[in-house]
Subunit: 343 residues, 2 copies
């Protein structure tokens, strides 16, 4: 039925080992031999069996993406980028959504890694930002790549993608300040995500640099969810000194904030500017469309996966760390502060 390495070897009149060499792109095979084998591979439509490769070799051709994130757009983008790298390099991907707070989470991942002989893990927040978890994964004899928020990568020789949320957040805040806003509310995302504090610190830094006082009343702590945006915006708008702009930690929160503004009959951006973060489809589909920061998640994911695969193969990497800074995208949810507003 399905052709095996034996069939190819027979057809090409070489040993199975030589076929193995050809499909693994090893160097010491004469060109003429290589051609014979490739012809046989093609004629028989041969696909090496990954289970056998995983079992026989010291290498494995499976990696897994472990995540705990309710943001469908984010996950789909990540999967897309990871799969793109996997396909090019002949790896298969297992996805493993799970609960980061479950107390047997290490056990759970460990089981999966053993069962499926996973060679490497792609970790996104919050997993990538849980040091003990990362430590335990390393002891499992599994390579990892982390996508995390911040500027300085952990100094542990593991590949990393650092997303400079602080700087991107600074730019967004500066954009609001340039529009004349002085009372800018901030809805913080989930505390288990480092991006929340990084984005908050970019915001406070920008305020400081512009000599604007930071008011704790304008900072609301929430989750990365639509509902959090609704509640956060409601409570900010109820403040004695209302903000003229609201910085939402991501687009979903921003969509919630827009919803709340609509509930309270507040015109966006005339009476209130709202910004998001992520440039997810949300930001193009709300009314008005959202000013946000563009984070190329699929690129980040593909890049991370390439680093991981190189790491799995013990290839030496020039750059074990890659940096990204999301870019400001101005749409219709931000405008100049109206001069006749209360201050």
């Amino acid at each position: 039925m399905k052709a095996t390495i034996n069939d190819v070897a027979k057809q090409a009149e070489v040993s199975i080992k030589t076929v193995s060499r050809v499909i693994n792109n090893e160097v010491s095979v004469r060109q003429a031999t290589r051609d014979k084998v490739l012809a046989a591979v093609k004629a028989l439509d041969y696909q090496p069996n990954l289970a056998a490769r995983n079992l026989a070799g010291t290498k494995s051709y499976s990696i897994a993406y472990v995540y705990d994130n309710p943001n469908a757009y984010y996950i789909i983008d990540m999967q897309k980028g990871i799969l793109s790298a996997c396909k090019k390099q002949g790896y298969e991907l297992l996805i493993h959504p799970c609960n980061a707070k479950a107390d047997n989470i290490t056990q759970e991942i460990s089981t999966m890694v053993k069962q499926s002989r996973v060679a490497g893990l792609v970790l996104t927040p919050p997993f990538s930002e849980m040091p003990e978890f990362v430590q335990q994964m390393k002891q499992l004899d599994v390579k990892i790549v982390r996508i995390m928020s911040g500027d300085v990568a952990p100094d542990d020789l593991t590949p990393c993608i650092m997303v400079n949320d602080h700087q991107a957040s600074y730019k967004i805040t500066q954009h609001l300040i340039d529009l004349g806003h002085r009372h800018i509310g901030f809805i913080v995302g989930g505390a288990e995500h480092k991006s929340s504090s990084e984005r908050l610190s970019g915001y406070t830094q920008a305020l400081k640099d512009n000599d604007i006082a930071i008011s704790e009343n304008l900072i609301v702590h929430g989750e990365y969810s639509f509902e959090s945006g609704v509640h956060g915006a409601k409570s900010l708008i109820a403040e004695e000194i209302k903000p003229t702009a609201i910085f939402s930690c991501n687009d979903e929160i921003a969509a919630g904030a827009l919803f709340a503004a609509r509930l309270m009959n507040i015109a966006i951006p005339e009476e209130l500017s709202i910004v998001g973060f992520e440039n997810s489809p949300f930001s193009r589909q709300t009314w008005p469309t959202l000013t946000t920061a563009d984070q190329p998640n699929d690129q980040i994911a593909e890049n991370a996966t390439n680093l991981l695969i190189a790491h799995v193969r013990n290839q030496s990497l020039k750059n074990i760390v890659t940096h990204y800074t999301p870019e400001l995208v101005v749409r219709n949810s931000t405008g100049r502060v109206s001069t006749d507003k209360n201050i």
Copy 2:
């Protein structure tokens, strides 16, 4: 490092075959022996190696989800349901997003199936609704389960989940009619999805049964996308005889329609009612929230996967086909037709 079946056998003082029997839940093992083995499994934290099982056995423990759908919420829900069934039954899931219209698509899936020794495929539209594709998959020696739109399952002894979009659509249309609407626009989703025509036929049937004339001008053909909703609604509203309600083939289209209405300063639902289909998060996050039909995608997916796994294991199934009918969910985007409106 990782415990193997040999380690367990040694520790339990039995043969590896007996260990194999215990972990496969075979019947003819004495209770005392079973207990010894299970104790050893636990003590060594043993996890059977899936690659070896796939290779050694005639069965495989991998299934794949093949899809071509830009709807992130739908995909995430499906994955969740599939994974839930996989986890319970010890299967691993590969995801395979791809382009259904690529001309080498059969080749592509075939490669994946061979490489990863996939035992079964979960197919959603449009793949599940492409008869030649399904036929070719069967020749690949891979089992399938299809989730498709319609009432009557294909008569080919393959497990199927049928979603009765016609009936659900009928109910939604009746809801609009009950609210007094007589001019109801319809934005059709992508033609490659049978759900589009099924939902359309439910709509026309409901109109007929209520003696309402069907106007081709009120039916716009599009895709399952936000942009299609924007364009569709714009063109419907530009009609000489404006609709007082718009039935959108899914929530994303409906969100686009809402966007268009907002652009044109049309109050929802006072001047225009809009409905969606799917009950995705969209429908709770738009303004106003959407009346829609609830489709429990994760349940459908889990159910489908259970059918598939039973099929893969050659277990006889009582019911090879399961039927679902989405339920009407009334929210704030629909209202009584205003009596002073133009007709």
